[in-house]
Amino acid sequence: MRATAAEETQSGTLVLLCLAAWAIPGAGHLWLGRRTKGLIFLVALPAMFAIGLALHGRLFPFDLSEPLVGLAALADVGMGIPYFIASSLGYGAGEVRAVTYEYGNAFLIVAGLLNMLVVIDAFDVAMGRK
């Protein structure tokens, strides 16, 4: 059965919504009118990401020969635009000798994973499940 034009428009909007929610943490919730939630995500997730960088955490490269490094890179990219800004400015090189290196990695990876959860939540809200 072919999708109707309305369904295609809706699915296109959903894709855009998810892309926006991924690129800018909280943007999906702001788009859907959930301002308080959106603002909390907009502040908390980039703050967590910035703390991770300040703690000398590493933005891992996509090295598929090292599965754990590849997975960490995938989690880092979950942060969206802040990840690309930090990478392009040379942040996230990672200082292995720093006492806070592992903490920094934990902040960076978990910030990306939480943003993925936020995207899924925005999707659920848009679908009327929440």
Binding site: L45, L55, T100, A111, L117
Partner: protein, 57 residues
């Protein structure tokens, strides 16, 4: 900041905040759920830390 406890508490705060806001819609529920999660993070880290105390590095 190099205090492990302060870093742990900061991490627990952010994770609890985001998960509570995702999971609950009502502000009171968010505060209760987030507070419980934050306390749980801290308590479990302290308990695990003391359990590992006898083991050599």
């Amino acid at each position: 900041m190099q205090s492990h406890l302060a870093l742990l508490a900061t991490f627990a705060f952010f994770v609890s905040l985001v998960l509570a806001v995702i999971a609950k819609d009502d502000t009171r529920d968010q505060l209760r759920f987030g507070g419980l999660m934050f306390g749980g993070f801290l308590a479990s880290a302290l308990v695990l830390g003391w359990l590992m105390y006898p083991f050599p590095l």
